[in-house]
């Protein structure tokens, strides 16, 4: 296979003595082709962040059980020794986190936090690294980069910090970038700029991107393929246009209905999904989404549905999908 990343039956279980096991991710499989932008979408708590941390090898070593396989260019990452992982992280695969206010070291200048990647992965000397760091900051749209290099995180706004973090992530020209809700913590006006920047950078550099978000609106503008997650499992996946045109899972339908649209008739209210992610069933008892689902049928409680093709290149995990069974 010539995929960049192949995640196969990934299982992540948090187990602590004296507490019940938490199955945060349950047999999740997906792939990322070189240069592709993949969306991982779902409400808070569905397992997006732990999936990305598992790929990066950043989950805590104690209290976590990993199952399945994560292969990057054919190299199995699960169980790879730490020193090998350290050489791949930042160089082959990199990550941008949710909160730029806390993701930068407050007592180290921005410049050092960029150059340390260059020194580590691109064998640069101090001078070359400083020059390259200034170029990188300029490329992510930070004005007056050589001055900014000497500044500390608290001297930058949230948007500028996220730009700096993106510069750090892309510094070693990774082939895969994971962005975990990179705009959630930012002002609305800044959000669009950062998304635009990411889109442009990955297109220019040919970097594959896993875009993690709870907002299908974000996915609409940039992703090639979209995987919708619910309670640790993928419940629907398709190409972006296919998914937006023919959402099959009631959960996806709910997410789409809650995006504000320009062509929406005036006065029509946005429809939120009823209930909260906490009202869910364990997958062992049926479909986790059943308690909140408008399309619920009797089969939904009992045995969980499997992820099955609904249309060409479109899979859904549902007994009673939207759009009826006519075009199945």
């Amino acid at each position: 296979m010539n995929n960049l990343l192949d995640v196969n039956d990934l299982e992540i279980v948090f187990s602590r003595r004296g507490r019940k096991d938490v199955r945060a991710v349950d047999k999740v499989s997906f792939s990322v082709a070189p240069g592709e932008t993949v969306g991982l979408v779902g409400e808070s708590g569905c397992g997006k962040s732990v999936t990305s941390l598992a790929i990066m090898g950043l989950l805590p070593k104690r209290g976590v059980r990993l199952g399945g396989s994560i292969a990057f260019e054919g190299t199995e990452l699960i169980g790879l020794p730490q020193d090998k992982l350290r050489r791949m992280r930042g160089r082959d695969l990199a990550m941008v986190f949710q909160d730029p206010m806390t993701s930068l070291n407050p007592v180290v200048p921005i410049g050092t936090q960029v150059t340390e990647v260059l020194v580590r992965h691109r064998d640069m000397g101090a001078d070359a690294a400083r020059k390259e760091a200034a170029d990188l900051l300029a490329r992510v749209g930070i004005p007056d980069p050589s001055r900014r290099l000497k500044e500390y995180p608290h001297q930058l706004s949230g948007g500028m910090r996220q730009r700096a973090l993106i510069a750090m992530a892309l510094a070693a020209k990774p082939r895969l970038l994971i962005a975990d809700e990179p705009t959630t913590a930012l002002d609305v006006t800044i959000q669009a700029q950062i998304l635009e920047l990411l889109k442009e950078l990955v297109r220019e550099s040919g970097t594959a991107l896993i875009m993690i978000t709870h907002d299908l609106g974000v996915v609409a503008g940039m992703c090639d393929t979209v995987h919708v997650m619910y309670s640790g499992r993928i419940v629907e996946r398709a190409q972006r246009h296919e998914l937006f045109a023919h959402p099959r899972h009631p959960y996806t339908g709910g997410l789409l209905a809650s995006i504000p649209r320009l062509d929406q008739p005036r006065g029509e209210r946005l429809e939120p999904i009823q209930g909260s992610p906490r009202d869910m069933l364990a997958w062992s008892q049926g479909c986790a989404f059943a308690p909140r689902c408008r399309n619920r049928v009797d089969e939904c409680v009992g045995e969980a549905p499997v992820l099955a093709p609904a249309r060409p290149d479109h899979e859904v995990r549902c007994y009673n999908p939207l759009g009826g069974s006519d075009d199945r």
Binding site: R86, G90, L104, N105, E116, H154
Partner: protein, 335 residues
């Protein structure tokens, strides 16, 4: 930064004024007059009055205070009752010994305490962590006096590994001491035997004195490292694939050491009270022993001088700590 230092130095003035008033009042309130202490139980009334006149004790209180203050400003703390020498001279003569002891103790506390706290945090929940927590609790609660005695008894008296009193062997008393810091003196004069001898004399008292600060520093470091390890920026650093050395030094320790720095400054007061006990046990001729001897002899001028000097040093050292803090943490600097 300079403005910050000047402002902190100005704060020193009211602090020291307040302290001088407190000290003055304290000495006046003590039972047993200084004249009596000087002259002994059988002094006549006339003798006592003469001494009182000489020492200005017959003047109104506020005048006595102003005179006291005027002298203090000129570093004139009066004459030691014990030795009949100016107190300031006694201090200057003894201070290097205490400073050497204190610095060695603090060095031990930092060099052992910080790594201990760091590894305890890294191995959170393992036997090393539990041992550190328990050990530091014992270290904090064990009386310095008792510990000093035990160290002396076991390692000096019984095993004979270390000398049990003083700063230098009697046979080396003619060694030159240009700085008063004996370890340094040994190096400066190229007298390696004296250098080594001074170190041997320092080991036991320094360990006794280091125990409490070491325990506290280990605990604070452990707690701070545990906090920092959960910070997002450490995860960012890991996501960049930096070597574990760089992650530890640049991203974990630099942040975790901020609270530790503050605590090190605050240890100084503890160190001084500990020095009184330690120096007494080891007959270590420093300021601490001098003060311990000053109490039974009602050597008030020496006590006053000691407390004022220590208080000033305490404030100055904490200023240095704040400056160091500012150097590590840019957020403090801009303010």
């Amino acid at each position: 930064m300079l403005r910050f230092i000047v402002r902190r130095l100005l704060v020193l003035v009211p602090v020291l004024l307040g302290l001088s008033i407190a000290l003055f009042a304290w000495v006046r309130a003590l039972p047993g007059s200084p004249a009596q202490a000087l002259l002994g139980e059988r002094a006549t009334q006339a003798q006592i009055e003469m001494i009182n006149r000489q020492m200005g004790l017959d003047q109104p209180l506020y005048e006595q205070y102003l005179r006291f203050l005027g002298k203090v400003v000129r570093l004139d703390f009066g004459t030691s009752v014990q030795t009949s020498q100016p107190v300031i001279d006694e201090m200057i003569r003894r201070f290097p010994a205490t400073f050497e002891l204190g610095v060695t103790a603090l060095l031990i506390a930092v060099v052992v305490g910080v790594p201990l706290g760091y590894f305890a945090a890294r191995r959170n929940g393992t036997w090393l962590d539990s041992a550190t927590i328990t050990g530091s609790l014992i270290g904090i609660t064990i009386p310095v006096f008792f510990l000093a005695y035990m160290l002396k008894y076991v390692f000096a008296v019984k095993l004979g590994w270390f000398p049990n009193t003083g700063r230098q062997e009697a046979r080396m008393l003619d060694v030159e001491h240009p700085t008063g810091f004996y370890v340094l003196d040994g190096l400066v004069t190229g007298n390696m035997a004296a250098f080594w001898d001074a170190i041997l004399h320092l080991v036991l008292p320094a360990i006794a004195l280091a125990t409490i600060p070491l325990a506290i520093i280990a605990r604070i470091t452990r707690a701070a490292v545990l906090d920092v390890l959960n910070e997002d920026y450490v995860r960012t650093a890991e996501s960049k694939g930096l070597t574990s050395g760089v992650v530890t030094r640049r991203h974990v320790l630099r942040n975790a050491l901020l609270p530790v720095t503050t605590v090190i400054g605050l240890q100084f007061g503890l160190l001084m009270s500990g020095a009184i006990l330690t120096e007494t046990v080891f007959a270590f001729p420093g300021v601490g022993k001098f003060v311990a001897d000053a109490i039974p002899t009602r050597d008030y001028p020496s006590l006053q001088g000691f407390i004022l000097v220590i208080a000033t040093l305490f404030v100055l050292i904490n200023l240095v700590v704040d400056v160091a803090y500012g150097l590590i943490d840019p957020r403090v600097r801009v303010r």
